[in-house]
Subunit: 280 residues, 2 copies
């Protein structure tokens, strides 16, 4: 029986068209776009000499980064590498923008997506900031200053278990596919456990240049709907710039109406930090 | 008389072959490699409709970044843009990895290089770290842990005004050119005013993965020799890993012998933070 391995990946999403493979399972043509999953599967195939599929915990979107994405793979019996050594062997075949940080044997019932009990995402903002060369890959730039205290007050309205329909991306591919197939829509109730917002001055601003603040928002929850973290961040930014009071976030949540929420923050500010499993 | 402008630039050095123009002043061919200076001069030429040269404060090497590089330019009288608005006009013609953070009028005697009274460079290290996708552009990875306290003790031996020959790059193009021309070598006495070392845990390390420390070394001095900051950092890393005691740094300095110093740290960990001028 093949051993199941848990693999933990870090990647810079800038030059990837998201996590999800764009290859059909029986494809013979190269994928039309570069995805993280296809890149890892190609490195695995080079390592073990045959095609192999992995299952990721989260289908991160185009441009989204990860410090702790998790995937599982069923390792063939006849390929004799110690589970802990797979990470290093894989890294010698991976490009610089995706790294396997850890590999370990797990019980056969472990499933990267279905066994997950929670996730932490981090969103990074620089404000006020027009342009920056050094921070452009990982931060959303906003031209106006943000009131971090008001954003924290707004975020409090989201903590708990709620129908989060107001914060789901309007083009959710899963929901659209279910609608096409005549299936009922997926449950939109989600638990948000924690939203932490840290703010500090950006170091190294040249003299005479308006100093920007770095704002990092950690969102931890049991699971997230399509583009949910980015829509939460876009809504909190509306509060931070003073367009709406903090209570507005609670009103949007209660409305279950996506049209009432703020804009979807861009993907490059988002990073999947950690996926939780019961054994940890 | 043309007005002299001071321009402050931020750039991500990853995809540049350093600051210094690789175009001959009368070149008609495109430059064989991409440099920051050539990129800015091309944007300026597009803005004002003619060729124009800039003078930078520091010739940063291939791969070195800047948060506060300074340059001056003599602005033609007949191009009527307010000095403060040049930055924004220029940015609309610059690629994403170089940004003008500020533009201002300065007296005609201001010279970006010769008027500078000091500079701050920052060097970033992650240790222990084999590979990382998210930090690879701006950090030097070392596989072994570093003793920050020993590095601080070693750095103290460098503070003051000394002959820094032991920390000059062996292929210094300026010195080599002077030797070819039969000129005496440039003075190698430099003042190091301050070396600050900060250390903290890298946030967001996945469970089960050895946690890295982020080490940031700020070096402030009156001026620096070729590859001097990187040779200082490479030497402090030797102390940090326990190869030599802190006093060894003082012995290397006193020896004036480059062969006794540590290796030159790679360029991508280095960032020119600020250039000082008397009026500030």
């Amino acid at each position: 029986m093949p051993r199941r391995l848990k693999l933990t990946f870090e990647y810079d999403g800038t030059d990837f068209y998201g996590w999800q493979s764009q290859l059909a399972s029986n494809a013979t043509e190269p994928a039309p776009v570069r995805t993280v999953q296809d890149t890892i599967e190609a490195a695995l195939a080079a390592l073990i000499g045959r095609e192999i599929r992995i299952q990721g915990a989260s289908r991160t979107d185009e441009g989204v980064h990860a410090a702790g994405q998790v995937a599982h793979v069923d390792w063939p019996d006849d390929v004799s590498i110690e589970p802990e050594r797979v990470a290093r062997a894989l890294n010698s075949r991976l490009p610089g923008d995706v790294v396997c940080r850890r590999s370990e044997a797990v019980p056969p019932e472990f499933h990267a997506q279905r066994s997950a009990t929670g996730k932490i995402y981090r969103y990074r903002i620089l404000a006020p900031m027009d342009r920056s060369a050094l921070y452009r890959r990982y931060h959303w730039f906003l031209r106006y200053p943000l009131d971090a205290e008001a954003m924290r007050a707004g975020a409090k309205h989201l903590i708990g278990t709620h129908d989060c329909s107001a914060f789901v991306g309007s083009l959710d591919p899963t929901q659209n596919q279910r609608a096409e197939e005549g299936k009922p829509p997926l449950d939109t109730v989600r638990e948000i456990r924690r939203i932490d917002l840290r703010e500090e001055a950006l170091e190294g601003t040249p003299p005479g240049v308006r100093e920007a603040r770095v704002i990092e928002i950690d969102v931890e929850g049991g699971g997230f709907l399509y583009k949910m973290v980015r829509t939460i961040v876009g809504s909190l930014a509306e509060v931070g710039r003073g367009r709406y009071p903090p209570e507005w976030v609670g009103e949007v949540l209660a409305s279950r109406d996506r049209k009432r929420a703020g804009p979807t923050a861009p993907p490059h500010g988002l990073c999947l930090m950690q996926v939780f499993y019961p054994t940890e």
